[in-house]
């Protein structure tokens, strides 16, 4: 019997190595994404870059006609073309970038702050949580654009609010050491709080999840060692939520850039001005702009997080 088995063994098809099957099956699972990536990401990206160096028109036969222009499209973009709001593109980019770079840390810090608030222990915390995470739903851009009113706001309330902020502003200018610009900036942030809130839903949730993952024994140790609340935050909480901070920064940044007015400009070039070449040049600049700032930001942040650890 056993002899037979041994003799038969070579005839049976040798099974594939475990790791090879794993690899093949893994790629099968990844296949839709790979196809999609090549067709709908890499190809458009290469095409966009090609268009940006050409003048693109529709040929008589129905296809596309391209004439090489070198970097003329880019020169036109910054010197000749104006945005839909009649501004130079250098200005559009400068404004968008400074806005986003300023708002990103604000939103992240705000979401950390609200996560800390919802993580503390008090009565009615569940209700507060429900409210604090509402921006996940209320923050989708269609709602934030439609909720704004053109004329019929609750006029009385806004009037009171501006009066009040004027009072606080006067208080701050006369009784604090802060320079006026800083106070102006703070007041601007406070007045714009609703836009910050509407962007902070997911980040708050992530921070809360990270905070809940911290084991209570760490806090106990810190307390026994005599650390103050302040020290506990910087030495225990902050380093642990550091990695998620990085993620939140990137997420916020990308999210803000998605809503930036530059995206609308791309649309205007392509479908209203019918100038695909310059529109593509704008897209390319937009893309590299995002990537460059992001790289700088991540580099700085990893340094900060490391120091925190």
């Amino acid at each position: 019997m056993s002899k037979n088995a041994v003799q038969k063994a070579p005839k049976v098809k040798k099974p594939m190595k475990f790791q090879t099957t794993q690899k093949i099956n893994g790629y099968v699972f990844l296949l839709p994404w790979i196809i999609g990536f090549l067709l709908f990401f890499l190809m458009p990206m290469v095409n966009t870059i090609i268009y940006s160096f050409n003048e693109v028109g529709v040929a008589e036969a129905g296809g596309m006609e391209m004439t090489y222009r070198g970097i003329q499209n880019y020169i036109d973009l910054f010197q000749k073309e104006l945005s839909t709001a009649n501004q130079q593109f250098t200005r559009v980019f400068a404004e968008e970038n400074s806005n986003i770079v300023m708002n990103t840390p604000l939103i992240v810090v705000f979401s950390l702050f609200s996560a800390l608030l919802v993580n503390a222990n008090y009565k009615g915390r569940d209700i507060v949580r429900v409210i604090f995470f509402l921006p996940i739903v209320l923050g989708i851009s269609i709602v934030t654009t439609l909720v704004t009113t053109t004329g019929g706001d609750v006029t009385g309330v806004t009037a009171v609010a501006t009066e009040e902020s004027g009072f606080i502003m006067r208080l701050l200018t006369s009784y604090s050491f802060l320079p006026k610009d800083v106070i102006g900036f703070i007041m601007g942030v406070v007045a714009d709080i609703s836009s910050i809130i509407s962007k902070a839903g997911v980040q708050t949730l992530l921070y809360l999840a990270a905070l809940q993952g911290i084991s209570p024994s760490l806090y106990e140790v810190a307390k026994i060692e005599g650390a103050t609340t302040y020290e506990v935050f910087w030495k225990v909480t902050f380093p642990i939520v550091g990695s998620i901070t990085l993620f939140n920064f990137v997420y916020t940044f990308v999210d803000l850039f998605l809503d930036s007015s530059i995206a609308q400009e791309v649309y205007a070039f392509a479908f209203q001005k019918n100038n695909i070449g310059v529109g593509s040049a704008l897209s390319v600049v937009y893309m590299f702009d995002v990537l460059a700032i992001l790289v700088v930001m991540v580099l700085i942040l990893t340094k900060v997080v490391k120091i925190g650890e």
Binding site: F29, L30, F37, L39, L117, F133, V154, G213, L258, S283
Partner: protein
């Protein structure tokens, strides 16, 4: 015996109010103790500021929604009356009626866009879970490259690829095959197939983020489970279906909820690739574009015999429409919100 009587007393002592505490402190003279004084003062101040901040932030978050109600419930001709801030003088639901008549009709659009969001969310969960499983779990060549590309995709704004994606869909062709067989390329703009194809091929709304979530979740899953399954004779697919997926419920839920909400609110993909489709968010966007204000006002004044309809009316109708639009999302949110935090904690993005 002693222990039993003591145990219930301890929590009772905590619950004494400020007044009782003061009385006790007065009686045993501890009120003059500076340390006790300082601590009490501190806790009172902390509580005061904490409650103020929390209530203030709750109000700030709810304000955009709260301010809708007086406007919507107000009679159209009362709008803009400086006397009316929070409480309308004459109640009416004309704005609701107008919003329903203008946008929602028989609610078929809403149903269809909910359906679209649900189907897309389902597709995205399936595709992203598969891709995430491979990236996070399986040792494949070029794994680091694939992961890097996913992150890269997340970072690059899709709008920057809009032009060439649009042209691509306008004259759609795969390696010249369609041209070869039918003699012409396919126009996929304004075709729902485009949207589903994007989702199936992993390029839909924020899908790279979802792949990232799944891959980091599967990376953290203990290996022993799968090894046991493999030893017991499960193949690759059975292991995935029986071991990996059931464990990934938190990630699945997070991705499904986010994907549903975002796809329901999406105006980018639907607006460019299927502009005539039944998508509520897009319809609202078109109907209530600022250039359309007069149309809305005229319609309301004609339908409901309100000659005094003004730009305030346009706002009120717009807000009523937003509120109706939000109802399904809010219902879903209230159902899932309790589990949302734990699911996020377990979904693998954190940590």
């Amino acid at each position: 015996m002693n222990k039993k009587t003591k145990a219930p007393k301890a929590p009772k002592a905590k619950k004494t109010g400020l007044f009782t505490w003061l009385k006790n402190a007065w009686n045993d003279n501890s009120i003059t103790d500076p340390l006790v004084c300082k601590r009490t003062l501190q806790s009172i101040v902390f509580k005061f500021f904490g409650i103020t901040v929390i209530l203030g932030m709750c109000f700030a978050i709810l304000y955009p929604i709260l301010k809708l109600f007086p406007m919507i419930l107000c009679d159209v001709e009362d709008l803009g009356n400086p006397d009316v801030v929070w409480i309308p003088i004459h109640y009416s639901i004309v704005s609701f009626k107008a919003a329903i008549r203008l946008v929602f009709g028989n609610f078929s659009t809403m149903f269809l866009s909910l359906l679209y969001a649900a189907v897309t969310a389902f597709i995205q969960v399936v595709i992203c879970a598969m891709a995430g499983y491979t990236i996070g779990r399986i040792k494949i060549p070029f794994k680091g490259l694939v992961f890097g590309l996913v992150v890269f995709q997340f970072v690059v704004p899709p709008q920057s690829l809009l032009i060439s994606q649009y042209l691509n869909f306008k004259n759609f062709d795969i390696l010249g095959l369609f041209q070869l067989f039918t003699g012409d390329t396919v126009d996929l703009i304004n075709n729902p197939v485009t949207l589903y194809m994007l989702s199936i091929l992993g390029q839909g709304l924020k899908q790279s983020l979802f792949i990232y979530i799944f891959s980091s979740f599967f990376q953290g899953l203990p290996k022993e489970l799968e090894e046991a399954a493999l030893i017991d004779g499960c193949g690759f697919y059975k292991t995935y279906l029986k071991i990996a997926l059931p464990n990934a419920v938190p990630s699945i839920m997070v991705v499904a909820v986010l994907s549903f909400i975002w796809n329901y609110g999406d105006t980018y993909y639907t607006g460019y690739f299927h502009p005539d489709g039944p998508y509520l968010a897009m319809k609202l966007n078109q109907q209530f574009a600022a250039t359309n204000a007069n149309t809305v006002t005229d319609a309301v004044s004609k339908w409901y015999d309100k000659p005094a309809a003004s730009s305030f009316t346009y706002d009120a109708v717009k807000q009523a429409a937003v509120l109706i639009y939000l109802i399904p999302l809010l219902v879903i949110y209230f159902i899932v919100q309790k589990r949302l935090v734990e699911n996020f904690a377990a979904s693998g993005i954190v940590g």
